[in-house]
């Protein structure tokens, strides 16, 4: 048992750090470090830089052109990206749909779709949730009817994150209403520029449009965009979920944001207020404990020994911590977090921010935005159901 990374791992980290720091555009890092708005160009720009290096699909095996890193290497890569202020990789292409295409797609599908994902050229979106199917995803109603060599898709998806930028979309659609709800679901890839696709951004409580409704009105989808077998989509989706990894805890970002919180606390004069400082200290303990939890999972993945039943805890705890640091940042600034000046959340804004510190501009909006983290990707209530099941049977 050893806390330290091996010399090889430390070399790997140094190499990644060097590369990231020299290739990440400083304007983008500045935005990330200050929670300023990222444009589509920022996000895709960084994705393409990674793509050129072959690191956008950083979790991919070598046979599909990935670097073939192990769990620890992937973690170190994520950590170096987070600490350097890189935007989070939009996961829908490289992290979510790609492993499904690799595992269940035909060679033709692999050849057709994986290069655009690996290079960052094609922006993918996720079509899972529906207005009536959130935590109860299996009750989804969007229908795909097979007509000749096409599927005709009708229905609606919602909470499609960044779907306004999407080129392609992977969808769970209902192809049969027989048997259990799970059995009639298929996994379909869909060109978002197809006639009959309408994307309607949903404005969220922070004033931003991060998610969308996507409507399908007789959208024709060639049958060769079906992954695997008809009515087996639920299995593929579960495979995908099983591959969402430790990064779900987002502990690397939490470490970066804890440092930001401390900077804010100093600026706002509460760093030396014992009462407020205790809140930061508690959060610091929470983050260290979360990091140890993540490292234990990584170690078990790396060695293949001692399988652990704790991966289910990572999303719960990680999301609570995300909410907590945004809350403390807002509370640190107190009244000076309250002015809502949307332009001030853009980099380079030159106005006078009320109270005088423009770094406070995004604090309330970030707090509002982070309420989503305990809801999406399987609400924390659903996660607790799952944990309880593993403990109680």
């Amino acid at each position: 048992m050893d806390l330290a990374f091996t010399p090889e791992e430390q070399d790997f980290r140094a190499e990644v750090r060097e590369w990231v720091r020299s290739h990440l555009p400083s304007e983008i890092a500045h935005k990330v470090h200050n929670a300023l708005r990222l444009t589509r160009e920022d996000m895709q720009g960084w994705a393409k830089i990674l793509g050129k290096k072959g690191w956008l699909g950083y979790g991919w095996p070598q046979e599909f052109g990935g670097p073939g890193w192990n769990a620890v290497q992937k973690h170190l890569f994520e950590e170096e990206c987070a600490l350097a202020g890189a935007p989070r990789i939009v996961p829908f292409g490289p992290v979510m749909v790609a492993p499904v295409i690799m595992a269940f797609g035909t060679p033709e599908q692999q050849e057709r779709f994986l290069p655009g994902i690996a290079s960052g050229e094609v922006w993918w979106s996720q079509g899972y949730s529906e207005p009536g199917a959130g935590s109860d995803l299996a009750s989804l109603k969007t229908r795909a009817e097979r007509v000749g060599d096409k599927y005709i898709v009708n229905g609606q998806k919602t909470w499609t994150t960044l779907g306004q930028h999407g080129d392609w979309m992977f969808n769970l659609v209902r192809t049969s209403s027989e048997g259990k709800p799970q059995t009639g679901i298929s996994f379909l890839l869909l060109d978002m520029k197809s006639p009959g696709v309408t994307v309607r951004p949903i404005k969220l409580l922070d004033g931003e449009c991060e998610v969308n409704e996507v409507f399908f009105d007789n959208v024709e989808v060639p049958a060769d965009q079906l992954i695997g077998e008809e009515n087996k989509g639920w299995t593929y989706a579960k495979h995908l979920l099983a591959h969402e990894r430790t990064n779900i805890a987002d502990v690397n970002r939490a470490k970066r944001e804890l440092e930001r919180l401390k900077r804010i606390a100093r600026t706002e004069g509460v760093w030396d207020d014992l009462r407020f400082r205790d809140q930061i200290a508690l959060l610091e303990v929470d983050i260290v404990a979360l990091e140890m939890l993540v490292l234990r999972v990584l170690s078990a993945e790396k060695s293949g020994k001692n399988p652990l039943d704790i991966a289910g805890l990572l999303k719960i705890r990680g999301s609570e911590i995300q909410q907590r640091y945004t809350e403390l940042m807002m509370l640190a600034a107190g009244p000076f977090s309250l002015p809502f000046v949307q332009e001030a959340m853009d980099a380079g804004w030159q106005g006078d921010f009320p109270g005088g510190v423009v770094a406070n501009a995004p604090l309330a909006a970030s707090y509002f935005n982070m309420r989503k983290t305990t809801i999406y990707g399987g609400s924390n209530e659903v996660q607790r159901n799952i944990v309880a099941q593993t403990v109680l049977g």
């Binding site: 949730s129 009536g132 959130g134 935590s135 109860d136 009750s139 919602t158 909470w159 949903i202 404005k203 969220l204 409580l205 004033g207 998610v211 706002e268 004069g269 509460v270 009462r275 407020f276 809140q279 807002m330 509370l331 107190g334 009244p335 000076f336 977090s337 309250l338 002015p339 809502f340 000046v341 006078d352 009320p354 109270g355 005088g356 309330a364 909006a365 707090y367 509002f368 935005n369 309420r371 989503k372 305990t374 809801i375 999406y376 609400s379 924390n380 209530e381 607790r384």
Partner: protein, 371 residues
């Protein structure tokens, strides 16, 4: 010991509620927020209902009602998260009536009562955070009276107000002044805030001002305590509506073939929300009923109340969003605006940790409402 509302208070509540339901629906609120967060015609409607006059002494054209009437009113405005800061009228009425020279009272109180004059407290300074005894704005004597120099932040509806109550250092001690917005040397920069209401930065550069009292800190403490009680009452209304929206949604929304209201873990969360609401309501009553006590007891009581309300607002706001799921974080849905309002209210007049510090510092051997 009696917590019944009088018939007059019940009628007042119903009148305000009717106006909120019919006159200040969610769409009107949304358009006011989009237009900047303060609507003079809505303010005038509050005045027509007699609400700006509610706590102004009868001698000055007001209705001479007390803190409980103000509380009832604000509970109902909170239920509709009305953006216009009626609490400021209650603060101004009390502070002017208690602390200002008779001539100033005669000059301003009737205009406050009629709704003609919006007078707001402008006390927030950058360096002070929630402390009331930290002040950098300065007053100097002039032939005509005094001139002020400095800046205040987050003044409610500051660029729409007619005058400001401003705590200022005079000879090294905090005094309270009244400054008219249209006076020379007064500048404002307005903006919307997180909950959709309006505030402004106030710059004073040699602005002429009327001295209200040299005991400015005591007056400011009184103003803030009236503000805390108002915040508590408004928050109770907002929380009550938040819980009602949540309950409605949980009974409608189905997952796994049943209403989500049938899941025990969520039901217990609702029980905890109800607990927090009723503890908050109890302490809101306490806050308003303690406003007439001597300063030391009043201040301790109001800090206790704000600690409870702060905890309740955060819990109810956050849990409401969580129990709604995705819909709870959309701008379209009213619930998210209640959550934002509750978030902002926690930081009004001192947040939970600040007032916990006040309670701790003022703690004595005994405790309890009657001890």
């Amino acid at each position: 010991m009696d917590f019944d509302f009088s018939d007059g208070q019940q009628q007042l509540r119903e009148a305000v509620r009717r106006w909120v339901d019919r006159g200040y629906g969610f769409e009107r609120r949304r358009s006011i927020a989009a237009a900047g967060g303060f609507d003079r015609s809505a303010w005038n409607e509050l005045a027509e209902l007699g609400l700006t006059a509610l706590t102004v002494p009868e001698a000055h054209g007001g209705l001479g009602q007390g803190a409980v009437d103000a509380m009832v009113t604000l509970e109902e405005l909170g239920r509709g998260i009305v953006l216009e800061p009626l609490a400021q009228a209650f603060i101004a009425a009390r502070v002017l009536a208690d602390c200002a020279p008779e001539a100033v009272q005669a000059d301003w109180l009737s205009r406050i009562a009629s709704g003609e004059a919006l007078v707001v407290l402008a006390h927030q300074e950058r360096r002070a955070r929630y402390r009331l005894d930290v002040c950098d704005t300065q007053a100097t004597a002039t032939p005509e009276g005094h001139a002020l120099k400095g800046a205040k932040s987050l003044v409610p509806a500051g660029d729409e107000a007619d005058a400001f109550l401003v705590p200022v250092l005079l000879d090294g001690k905090i005094a309270l002044f009244l400054v008219e917005r249209k006076a020379p040397g007064v500048g404002t920069q307005g903006y919307g805030t997180a909950d959709g209401s309006r505030a402004a930065e106030l710059r004073l550069d040699g602005a002429p001002a009327t001295l209200l009292t040299q005991e400015g800190l005591a007056a400011l403490e009184l103003a803030v305590d009236v503000g805390i009680a108002a915040t508590c009452a408004y928050a109770v209304g907002a929380m009550e509506q938040t819980l009602a929206l949540t309950v409605d949604y949980m009974n409608q929304r189905k997952q796994f073939g049943v209403p989500i209201a049938s899941f025990q873990a969520l039901r217990h969360r609702v029980a905890d929300m109800k607990m927090q609401l009723e503890l908050a309501r109890s302490m809101s009553y306490y806050a308003s009923l303690k406003l007439g006590e001597p300063p030391a007891e009043r201040r301790r009581a109001l800090s206790r109340a704000k600690v409870q309300l702060g905890q309740s607002m955060r819990f109810i706001g956050q849990q409401s969003v969580q129990l709604h799921g995705g819909i709870g974080v959309t701008d379209e849905y009213a619930g998210s605006h209640y959550f934002k309002a509750l978030t902002q209210l926690e930081m009004c007049f001192g947040d939970t940790l600040h007032h916990l510090g006040e309670v701790s510092a003022r703690m004595e051997e005994t405790a309890g409402v009657f001890a």
